[in-house]
Subunit: 430 residues, 2 copies
């Protein structure tokens, strides 16, 4: 096997589109990235070259047959990463999705991020009730089996904790990875009953303006949601990527508010009370409010902003000198679909449009990429998303200027990954 | 708690759209299905009725905190169902997805159907090679890590074994379930490198017309694929629903031919040889050909037909008398997207349009439903899909008339579920 022949003829054709090595997107479409496939010597390998490669052991002996329940390869080993547990709040904490090792837009259920306020209740659906009461003509109570008879819709939506990426606001976690800095976002196909269907059955009274949603966990986690959102696209989610919602996602049922901060999508949902005013639950007063520089707090900051993130290369990865890379990542917006993602390799001086590699669904993760030829000089990789409403992802400076550094919620700022001459990639504050 | 008040005022409004109880789709949108939600007595329950329900144990004590890797609730227990193993072919066989218990369109990776010819090889990606040779200007060999640098696309596609639903052709499996009869179809987001990218790097010679794809399993499973398909939308799939392709789906890499019979999407792909003629592999001569009544066999019958299936209610389920049900299921086509699904409750005499409950993506599962009010008389439930090319799913009689009963492959026929007066649902041949 030898290398080089293809290199020579391909390199002169690489078309630069922005500073520090960003290449035209056509290089992703029509050509491989230089040097990844090794040319085989015809003399050594012959036309049936593949047959002369060493035959590995796994090709010589039959493996195990079909199984009742699959599992990942032992060579993969992806895991969620847990953080901010507090011994005073047993079962509290979060775990983050390994974004830098995932591709596409769907998060497999085993690796969907978690955020709990009193751990994961082990709910027997036969003993779970959903009550709808408050400002309704007729209070209702539902069993799980009853709900399975209802109309359902299936939609692919991201879910993001409002505390995701918070460390960037105060300049923390300098050694962070895509997972540790931004892993509180995931994406799944959620199937459930439109909340409007259930509320219409109960009959909402004219003076109603909010719903108060309460979970069956030991924290009685509660959030208030404006009635117009509930009647628009909120659902009672019963299935996640085809199977019943996972315990850590609210089994047997959760509220799901597309595009809104994760904790409003109350898990293990057991009550929807229709109200005139928000309930002022603990988790919308003492937490999940955005404290501004004047120490006043914004409350009910529901929609998640337009945002993107380069997942590869990213923090704690290493790039080899003089390689051509597929810089790629994810983009999303709580207000619509992703219209455009730009990438910079020079810390924001110049930008080039990335390619969109996936479906561009409303309020779902979207995958982007761009080829990048690294020459060994320092680089700062950034991405910047624009959504279908025209909103553009802001810089860190802009977010801090607008909202200060006390606040830990709703940070959509551009992530900067520094690449050192030795190829080490780190979270940098530029 | 009491029932009945809502029943009385809702029943007269139910609008019939086809025989034997099929209801207007608007009943799914604006109203719940009668009687599922129990009305609560205001006198007994009060405005805070939910709080007076018995508080279950799981709401009283914190549960376990976040975990590195999730698992399904112990109350769910979904499994694949294995079949047709043969002791003469160790590791051979298949397992089927539990379609009657899934919702939406995505199949979780743990439950994606399998079909193996010599079991599942345990491949270390560091020792796996992909060779491209044959009629190319420059044979190439790729390592796994190299391939991760390439351009990738992410698309949601169904995958179906060409032998799926074969029992219906010869009238077998009368006690079959949606899983045992039709469970060799699943759907996932597949992410990978367009095969065209790799072939263009190798440089396809003008006389080339086919590729021969070979897997690294002990069966050296091989299939020939026309070059124009490979250059159109075939991919080297590396990720499945976001994570690396599962071992039983070809880890570390498989060929994926959207819309085509599953076994052409060669798993554990280790060689693509570009050729002038098809390779005539064992699995495209002795198997996976469609033998017609004159004992001649059709070869290379690649695209999967337009098809649909009611998954609930379905075989071995029971419906309660006088209930209103969400009849629902999945539809798909190897030639495009699903345009329309009709449902009949009287064995095909009358039909009504079902509602589409999911995205309608090209070559992906699509979820449909329709409300059905059962009055306890015998019923035969059927669904009939139409795709974006105008193809309509045929009856069983039409398939048998065209292709006879020797053939076991490519059966897209309409499934009939009989409902007895006692509410038992069974596979029936009408």
């Amino acid at each position: 096997m030898k290398q080089g022949k293809l290199e020579k003829k391909r390199q002169p054709r690489l078309e630069k589109v922005a500073g520090n090595g960003l290449l035209s997107r056509r290089h992703l479409l029509g050509l491989g990235l230089g040097g990844a496939g090794l040319a085989m010597s015809q003399a050594v390998m012959g036309q049936d070259a593949g047959l002369k490669l060493e035959i590995p052991g796994w090709s010589k002996t039959p493996g195990p047959g079909p199984s009742a329940y699959g599992s990942a390869s032992s060579h993969v080993g992806l895991e969620r990463q847990s953080g901010f547990g507090n011994p005073l709040y047993p079962g509290g904490g979060a775990s983050r999705s390994p974004l830098q090792h995932l591709q596409g837009t769907i998060t497999p259920n085993n690796l969907h991020f978690e955020r709990h306020h009193a751990g994961v209740p082990d709910i027997d659906p036969a003993g779970h009730k959903l009550v709808i009461n408050g400002l309704v003509r007729q209070p209702l109570v539902f069993d799980y089996e009853d709900l399975l008879k209802y109309t359902m819709v299936s939609r692919i939506y991201f879910l993001e904790c409002s505390g995701n990426s918070g460390a960037l606001l105060y300049g923390g976690n300098p050694d962070g990875t895509a997972q540790s800095l931004h892993g509180l976002v995931s994406c799944a196909e959620w199937t459930g009953i439109p909340i409007s269907t259930l509320l219409e059955e109960a009959g909402v009274l004219p003076e109603a303006r909010w719903i108060a949603a309460v979970g069956a966990d030991a924290a009685s986690m509660g959030r208030s949601v404006p009635l117009n959102k509930a009647m628009d696209d909120s659902m009672l989610a019963l299935f996640q990527n085809g199977e019943p919602v996972r315990p850590e996602q609210g089994y047997p049922m959760r509220l799901f508010n597309p595009g809104w901060e994760g904790n409003t999508s109350v898990k293990w949902l057991t009550q929807i009370k229709v109200t005139r005013e928000p309930a002022q639950f603990r988790d919308e007063t003492s937490k999940y409010t955005d404290t501004m520089p004047d120490r006043k707090s914004l409350q009910f900051t529901f929609p998640m902003d337009v945002k993107s993130l380069i997942t590869s290369p990213s923090g704690q990865m290493t790039v080899a000198r003089n390689g051509v890379y597929r810089v790629n990542g994810i983009a999303w917006s709580g207000s619509g679909s992703i219209r455009r993602v730009e990438v910079s390799a020079d810390g924001g001086s110049t930008w080039a449009d990335a390619l969109i590699d996936s479906q561009q669904l409303d309020k779902a993760l979207t995958r982007f990429s761009i080829p990048w030829q690294w020459d060994g000089s320092p680089a700062v990789l950034q991405s910047r998303a624009t959504d279908s409403t025209g909103n553009v992802q802001p810089t860190r400076e802009a977010v801090i200027a607008a909202k200060g550094t006390i606040n830990r919620y709703h940070n959509p700022c551009i992530q900067s990954w520094g690449v050192s001459p030795s190829g080490e990639v780190t979270n940098v504050y530029v």
